[in-house]
Amino acid sequence: MKQQNVSLPDAVRTTEDLQAFIADVERVQKALFSTKKVLEQTLSESIERNRSKLIQAAIAKAITHSAKSNALQSLIKTLTSYPLLHLTIAFAQTPESIEKLSNWARELYGETIILDITTDPSLIGGAIVSVDGIYLDHSMRNMLKYYFTEKRQAIEQLLSK
């Protein structure tokens, strides 16, 4: 079975992925200055396979330890430069739902967007989106609130009868 190559943005869809990736890169950076065996062991055993491949690809062209370290630093820089999209949702996240949401977000905001997802059941449904300095509460809770504010007079009239 042919192994599919994963791109860097594919490996980093959420802030959790980002933190885990940066931690892996730092681990490899430490291992660089140890023995070759330790480095190989770290890359093959301690790190998730897709991330390991991406890290190896990043340091493949570098010859010296210093050059490899610089390449890893550059990788961290690239990862941290990806834009963030804060998303508050009402339901519990699953890997499938995260992938779906990430794909939709990337269709709309670009391939490198990273999701920072929080779950808040009080939203009832919908989501709160915060991206590029825009904050949008498109939750059902907010809709209910809006409805109650709008229909306040009607409710008051109903109550005063």
Binding site: L87, L123, S139, L144
Partner: protein, 222 residues
């Protein structure tokens, strides 16, 4: 031997003669002393007699003097008694004079005072009547003015109180309605959370999030 005895004899004779002389002189002195004592005794008796005579004379003079002094004292005492009686008489008279004078003056004063009050009483009832009427008029005017002021103040207070109650009622109504509103909202929210959020299928949830992402994208400036 003979000269020695002789000399002893001579010495003895000499001592004898000497002793005889001394004895004679002593006797002479004794007689002289006796004579002197006798003279002294005579002088003393004379002196005593003289003294007794002088004493008698002095005693007589002293007794005379005392008698005279007693007489003089008795005289003085009688004179003093007279003077005292005269003084008492004078004092009593003086007191009576002064008392009479004062009594007369007092009677005069009392008469004048009596007359003054009689006159005063005659006019006082008229004055009281006039004064009371004037006071009554003034009091009535002041009271009417005061009643008007109180009525005005009361009206204002009642008006204020009504306004305050109306305001409080409005505030209470608003608060109450807000509370009811919030309660309803809270109930609806709770029910929505419990029912919709849990019963909504995952696909619908995801669709709603997709809608939110699209809406946000529409808001983001290009």
């Amino acid at each position: 031997m003979i000269p020695e005895t002789l000399s002893l004899l001579l010495l003895s004779a000499f001592i004898f003669i000497g002793s005889a002389i001394v004895a004679y002189i002593s006797l002479w002195q004794l007689s002289v002393l006796r004579k002197t004592i006798k003279e002294q005794q005579g002088y003393d008796s004379k002196r005593k007699a003289l003294l007794s005579e002088q004493e008698k004379t002095v005693h007589g003079t002293f007794v005379e003097t005392i008698d005279e002094a007693q007489k003089a004292a008795k005289l003085l005492l009688s004179q003093a008694n007279d003077f005292e009686q005269r003084l008492e008489k004078l004092e009593t008279q003086l007191r009576e004079d002064i008392a009479q004078k004062h009594l007369k003056a007092l009677a005069k004063e009392r008469e004048a005072l009596h007359q003054y009050y009689v006159d005063k009483l005659k006019t006082i009832s008229d004055d009281i009547e006039k004064h009371t009427a004037m006071q009554l008029d003034q009091t009535q005017a002041v009271l009417q003015e005061r009643i008007k002021q109180i009525q005005k103040a009361l009206d204002l207070k009642v008006q204020d109180a009504f306004q305050k109650i109306e305001e409080e009622l409005a505030v209470y109504k608003t608060k109450r309605l807000k509370a009811v509103d919030e309660q309803i909202y809270s109930i609806v929210q709770h029910v929505s959370e419990e029912l919709i959020q849990k019963t909504l299928p995952l696909s619908t949830h995801e669709k709603l999030v997709k809608d939110a992402l699209e809406k946000a994208k529409e808001t983001v400036p290009q």
